[in-house]
């Protein structure tokens, strides 16, 4: 029963991890930009949820709409105004650029909100449900449900909409996409904005689970990294598989080695994978 409970916890964690990684993976896969800002975007989403709850009593699941929209706009402006100027440069260049932007944004948040951890306490927590001895923390279950919905939404968008097809087309062949009349710079901006939207939404959902502080951004970024390497780059199903794999691994890792080592374990796996299977578990570059 314990093992089953751990598996369940791992799956729940993994559903949230998938949401962390999916936007990061999209941006990396389509733009060839490793977005160091991603972790800070997530934290910003959490703060939006925190203040929306504190001042207006908006439930974090509802403020997903606010944090998603704000981050979408912020992401669009950053890509269209700044990153597009160097987007064709080698990946190290754009990595350095987003690293610099991350320093700015993260430090601005440190000044504005301090590094102190804040906790969003729900007044009407759903509590937990006992399912034949398995404990289901209902807030978390609902959060994972919402995360799955958002992830699925992105998946459908990429597959079934005009703009989604254009994003995939740009990922596969920029010049051919240009010949179809796709404005690549605009698609870059929309893609980056979608990545930021997913980060913001993840931040909102996370605000009911984790304490909020700008110093968490590195942790989130690290997880997104590991998940992309686990699941392969630039595909929604890849991010889901990678996310769930990491969630389960961390949960069992915490059981066997102690919770303080679960993050270390994740990075050990990352390094092992990079050495032995650099294309990810799926082994194929997906695209959706």
């Amino acid at each position: 029963m314990l093992y089953l409970q751990i598996l369940l916890n791992g799956l729940l964690l993994g559903g949230l991890y998938a949401l962390i990684a999916v936007g990061f993976s999209l941006v990396w896969g389509v733009l060839n930009v490793i977005n160091i800002l991603h972790g800070t975007f997530i934290v910003l989403g959490s703060y939006i949820a925190y203040f929306a709850h504190l001042y207006f009593g908006i439930h974090p699941f509802a403020s997903v709409i606010i944090s998603g929209s704000v981050l979408f706009c912020l992401g669009y402006v950053i890509q269209a105004g700044i990153i597009n100027r160097v987007v064709a440069a080698p990946v190290l260049m754009t990595l350095t650029l987003t690293f610099g932007l991350d320093l700015l944004l993260n430090n601005a948040m440190l000044i504005a909100f301090t590094a102190d951890y804040r906790k969003l306490i729900l007044t009407d927590s759903l509590g937990s449900y006992d399912l034949w001895g398995l404990i289901l923390p209902l807030n978390r279950v609902a959060g994972v449900g919402l995360a799955a919905l958002l992830t699925f939404g992105l998946y459908r968008l990429l597959r079934d909409s005009n703009i989604g097809r254009a994003i995939v087309a740009v990922r596969m062949d920029r010049e051919a996409a240009t010949l179809m009349g796709v404005r690549v710079n605009r698609i870059n901006a929309v893609t980056f904005a979608l990545g930021a939207l997913m980060a913001g939404a993840a931040g909102s959902i996370f605000s009911i689970i984790y304490p909020i502080s700008p110093i968490n951004s590195g942790l989130f970024l690290g997880k997104a990294f590991v998940i992309c390497i686990l699941g392969g780059l630039g595909s929604v199903p890849g991010a889901m598989i990678g996310g769930i794999a990491l969630g389960v691994i961390e949960s069992y890792g915490a059981l066997f080695f102690g919770p303080e080592h679960s993050t270390t374990l994740a990075f050990v796996i990352l390094i092992a994978l990079l050495i032995f299977r650099p294309t990810g578990i799926m082994g194929r570059k997906g695209y959706e």
């Binding site: 005009n162 097809r165 995939v168 051919a176 996409a177 010949l179 179809m180 796709v182």
Partner: protein, 241 residues
């Protein structure tokens, strides 16, 4: 050609890549509904010419006009909206996308949803094998089928001028026949065709007029049968001694 005939007119066109100049003054005109082929050895600038017309490569001199309207500073999007579609060398399909999605990408700028569906059916009718493979990734198609998909994708843009770079390269004769027949039908529906082709015999047989490019310039031009009879062309491109 008189001024009021609808046509794509290229005059004294120069272009290239940064420091490297490739085109040294090209003059080509194509009237609405016409078929024209461009032949020439490897590396003389045929693809560069098409890329300059479609706005991927910026011209450095001369002019491109469509029905008298300048396309000198047009973006690829503008060129496409004006009715000029470029099927690139090497087909350049979106390989991990389905055949159907590739075709739909050809209609990316169009908003007329029901007409897009009709055109999809038109392409499936033209190339029934694509209808069978519509859900399959384009990367899994054979070379000939990929070229059909590329041409179908071009047709989905509702061209008035369809430019095709290397129709037959690396394809089996049967597939080539099929593709030329399809091009003929597309042309019959009123679309002008500008074909860049290695297979000089087939190209000259297909086209009304022909241009021979060498070192970034047009060295021979005229009706296709005249060009075919030109001793220079026979010797250099048709293997006649």
């Amino acid at each position: 050609m008189s001024e009021n005939i609808a046509q794509l007119e290229i005059k004294a066109l120069t272009s290239g890549y940064g420091e490297i100049q490739v085109l040294w003054g090209i003059d080509v005109g194509i009237s609405a509904g016409e078929t024209v082929c461009i032949i020439g050895s490897n590396g003389v600038g045929k693809s560069t010419l098409l890329r300059t017309i479609s706005g991927i490569v910026k011209l450095t001199g001369g002019s491109i006009t469509l029905d008298g309207v300048s396309l000198n500073n047009a973006t690829p999007e503008d060129v496409l909206s004006a009715g000029i579609v470029h099927v690139p060398e090497g087909r350049r399909l979106f390989s991990a996308m389905s055949v159907r999605d590739n075709l739909l990408m050809g209609a990316y700028l169009r908003k007329d949803k029901s007409a897009i569906q009709d055109d999809l059916e038109y392409v499936y009718h033209m190339f029934p094998i694509l209808a069978e493979r519509r859900r399959q990734d384009a990367g899994t198609l054979s070379g000939g089928e990929q070229q059909m998909c590329a041409i179908g994708r071009g047709v989905m843009g509702r061209p008035r001028y369809l430019m095709i770079d290397e129709l037959s390269l690396g394809l089996a004769p049967r597939a080539v026949d099929l593709l030329f027949e399809a091009l003929h039908n597309i042309n019959q529906s009123g679309v002008a065709i500008l074909l860049v082709e290695q297979d000089v015999m087939n190209a000259l047989e297909f086209a009304d007029r022909a241009f021979v490019v060498d070192q970034g310039k047009i060295i021979v031009s005229g009706n296709a049968d005249e060009v075919a009879a030109n001793p220079l062309v026979q010797e250099a491109y048709m293997g006649v001694v």
